[in-house]
Amino acid sequence: MIQAQALSKRYGSKTAVDSIDFTVQPGKVTGLLGPNGAGKSTTMRMVVGLDRPTSGSVIVNGKPYREHKAPLREVGVLLDAKAVHTGRSAYKHLLALAATHGIPAGRVREVIELTGLQSVARKRVGGFSLGMGQRLGIAAALLGDPATLILDEPVNGLDPEGVQWVRHLMRHLASEGRTVLLSSHLMSEMALTADHIIVLGRGKVIADAPVDSIINAGGRSTTRVRSPRAAELAALLANPAVLVTDLEPDVLEVAGMSPAEIGDAAARAGIALHELSALSGSLEEAYMALTQNEVEYRTGGSNGLAAADLATSEPQEAAR
């Protein structure tokens, strides 16, 4: 469990993280999202004490990270795939980290196997591809069998198989009751991996909710209706609270009514329906709406909900 209270970080006059509060719960994968410069990496660095908060505090499993007797067993962290000396072999790198906590060489070999690095473990890290470096970073994070994992952009540079592997690994770790916090720019990937989302914008928390709530709040749910009498149906549904869009001659997209209401209305009018599918918004849409709100709020002070105007964006099949 990670708990931040009024956590702030200023670099000179620039505020990277602006008095944020959040809790990352165990047993779930929590995704940290936000545009570049929103404060994601800075927040992660403060959790493990690499950056000192300007004010406020962040604790992991009840204590500041540095006060734990075995920090690597509390938190495994992947902040930067390049946090490795390029002149050292992957094996020696892991062995050196393990030695600080008296972690035996057997565990080093175990994480090397787990991340599929056996064939390159004795090679110097300087020659590693981005994906290999990423796997090594994940191996290092897993060394202490930690209760909490923090991974900044873990799928960066991984091939599709590697991306899937990381997703399964994160889900598995969370299912064991561990706390998993990860950031990613890949929204579709995040929608598949995370249970809970924290969105940062300009150093503030702009959303902190389960993935489903985020999607429902941000994106607008619509329904696709296919009917040979689409035009008639459109006229029937016409109402100020309902938005009907003609996609094709006999396909409508309806916002503001549930599929059940549309189906009932069609049945009452005796209009045959060939398709009635609910389309929920995607995390990406919701995210764009949220971060756009942030920008508009900052510049124009307009109402947050009104700014979430997605009428112009194409609804998509939900990623989950």
């Binding site: 075995a70 050196a96 906590h101």
Partner: protein, 283 residues
């Protein structure tokens, strides 16, 4: 390889967690072991230390050969013989100080330039134990390599001098001083450099500053025609250092132990700055 990965995940239900114990926790002995592994797992360390041995033995060879040509059958008094061997055995370490200075700086700036420092400080979040362990490891390794170098240099020089009937026992006080104070001088320079490397966090800046203080500052001060410059000169680490190993007879600070204290003072200042900044700055 990807297949391996997928397989290992397939049976991951329980494999992610450690099947072996994950250790007793963070300890200073563990951090020392970690720093020892880090030091010796870099080729640059091996090359640097090999170069220290080569320079020491090479300089002993040159000095011994040159001195032998000087003596054309003239008998040398025993005290002078000891002096010859001390000089031949230890002259190399004054060149080797540049190598260990670079090694000392890079033992920490190499971590900053590659990003390794983030891994190191995550494993040791209180930070100072890491710096202390680095200091101990660099000191011990440099001392041992210095000791081996001087011994090797002594053996080579003795073999050559023996042809001119010049020799000195290792048990001679001046010889013993050279043998044990030489490596001490080298190891202290390495620690001084480690501190400066931590302060500057950049290889170029650290090396330029350390070599500037060690080699350039004594020359600059020597060129200033003022009493204060003359008075201050013996207190420079670059001037006091060699006086630990053997008295030149020219320094105003005569005793070896006094010079040792001066060098320790420089090392202490460098280390304290390093510790304060390491603790205070963001990694």
């Amino acid at each position: 390889m990807s297949t391996n990965t997928m397989n290992s995940l397939a049976d991951a239900s329980g494999r992610v967690g450690a099947s072996v114990t994950t250790g007793s926790g963070l300890s200073f002995v563990g951090v020392l072991r970690s720093e020892w592994i880090k030091l010796w797992s870099l080729r640059s360390t091996v090359w640097s230390f090999a170069l220290v041995v080569v320079v020491s033995v090479g300089m002993a060879l040159l000095i011994a050969l040159a001195s032998r040509m000087d003596q054309s059958g003239v008998a040398i008094p025993p005290e002078a013989q000891v002096g010859y061997l001390v000089t031949a055995s230890t002259v190399g370490i004054f060149f080797a100080q540049m190598i260990v200075a670079v090694l000392g700086v890079m033992s920490v700036t190499g971590e900053y330039s590659t990003g390794m420092i983030k891994s190191s400080l995550t494993a040791v979040p209180r930070r100072l134990p890491m710096l202390a362990a680095k200091g101990v490891v660099v000191f011990v390794a440099t001392y041992l390599v210095g000791l081996g170098s001087i011994l090797a240099a002594y053996l080579v020089a003795s073999a050559i001098f023996a042809q001119g009937d010049i020799g000195a026992s290792l048990a001679e006080p001046e010889m013993l001083r050279g043998l044990f104070a030489g490596p001490l001088f080298l190891a202290l320079i390495a620690i001084f450099a480690l501190g400066m490397g931590t302060v500057f966090r950049s290889t170029a800046g650290g090396i330029a500053t350390v070599l500037g203080i060690l080699l350039v500052l004594p020359i600059v001060l020597g060129l200033i025609p003022a009493d204060w410059a003359t008075d201050a000169s013996p207190y420079l680490i670059g001037n006091a250092g060699p006086e630990i190993v053997a008295s030149s007879g020219f320094s105003a600070v005569k005793e070896g132990w006094q010079n040792l204290l001066i060098v320790i003072g420089w090392v202490a200042v460098s280390s304290v700055f390093a510790a304060l900044l390491l603790k205070r700055r963001d990694a």
